[in-house]
Symmetry: C2
Subunit: 239 residues, 2 copies
């Protein structure tokens, strides 16, 4: 993400202001263009593709997957409603790219928890699961987009890549607990499926507010402790 692009968040109320603010955007772009960016920055807007991605993430976080709007993203980025078509085939194309950045962020959320855990394979696997749940709760709309929307195109090579990376991280975590590579081993893959299902189930139920049956008076405690208790139940059968 190019430096300075965060400053571009401007509220539009009338269409009349478009030209006005677009000048401001260009100024920002010119200022940010000093650090050589990797992507094909340049041209009119600067790097509209990146700007649209951050706009889309805002839009998604505010309106949810159901209320997401391509025109809304364009307005947030300060461009016309048809501009996104030059960078993304579809509205679904933009959502596909957004899901891809979601998966990379997803991976970092898991590694973040992992690297803060004791150097113990079991503890690290539990931490991975807690990172999984962290992400789901802190970015619910993005999580829904990635796992329960059907809008992103998972045939897209980039998305497929980052999504496989997430799964690979999980497989590696299970392999570490088992002491051998899980890939190809039936029992090991069942362990992977078990870990993934449990953690994903916790995340999805918590995210949709369906875990609140645990929030009764003397029942609840630290949510993290609860999740840990649940995750640990899948460890015994692994070795």
């Amino acid at each position: 993400m190019p430096a300075g692009l965060d400053d571009v968040k401007i509220e539009f109320d009338t269409v009349k202001m478009t030209v006005h603010t677009k000048i401001g955007v260009d100024q920002m772009e010119r200022a940010a263009m000093k650090g050589g960016e990797t992507s094909k920055a340049g041209y009119h807007h600067g790097d509209l593709r990146e700007a649209l991605l951050v706009a889309a993430e805002e839009e998604l976080a505010e309106k949810g997957v159901e209320g997401f709007t391509l025109r809304g993203c364009a307005k947030r980025a300060g461009v016309s409603h048809a501009a996104p078509a030059h960078h993304f085939k579809d509205a679904d194309g933009l959502l596909t790219a957004l899901a891809a950045v979601g998966f990379t962020r997803f991976t970092t959320a898991m590694t973040a928890r992992q690297s803060a855990a004791p150097v113990n394979s079991r503890e690290r696997l539990v931490a991975l699961g807690l990172g999984y749940i962290d992400f789901a709760i802190s970015e619910p709309a993005l999580f829904r987009l990635m796992f329960a929307s059907g809008r992103p195109d998972f045939n897209d090579p980039e998305l497929q890549q980052v999504a496989m990376n997430s799964l690979g991280q999980l497989i590696q975590g299970v392999s570490a607990v088992r002491g051998s590579a899980a890939q190809g081993d039936k029992a090991a893959m069942l362990d992977v499926a078990a870990a993934w299902s449990m953690v994903h189930g916790i995340a999805d139920l918590a995210l949709s507010g369906r875990m609140k049956f645990m929030d009764e008076p003397g029942l609840a405690g630290d949510p993290d402790a609860t999740y840990r208790n649940l995750i640990e139940r899948i460890l015994p059968r692994m070795e």
Copy 2:
């Protein structure tokens, strides 16, 4: 669901045919009206509310949650685009009612599996989980609507009721395994959360095609056996 209403599924290609087919519908209604229905059947269409629900279920199954359309439901039911407003406040209102019928069907899917299982509390709990997964796979769009869409209004009393019934069934299944009522007991509720999370995770991952990493050459077997293996992993800690 009134008898005979299933015959009302008529395909519309042009709007011109509306009057034509609507007569057919009325005939069906009149024929079906002999058995006294519970709902406020009568008036023009017969029982448009029920007809809209079956139309909505078709629409949802074909187009998915994302492609669901209120006008499409109206066309399927053979009425004008604004007719549904007299029976459901919103498009979300229709989806709320549809989610309610989904939950009752969900419950019956679980009890169906349960009653075909050995009279063993553990076996019955596993069967309940398999019924959960059955439903998710056989009616994916409905399942997504119920668990991962945000469109149904869960403050609606009817929906809240049937949704709680499903949860109650799960709590009862766990209670049977434990030998005592789970309600209010902290450890028991953790067992419930574990069972629910595991089964829900399996269902959601399988439904979205993300379990296909298990479908490698010598790896896979009967999906049901795989799911059973996973579900059984949460049993040991219960007593």
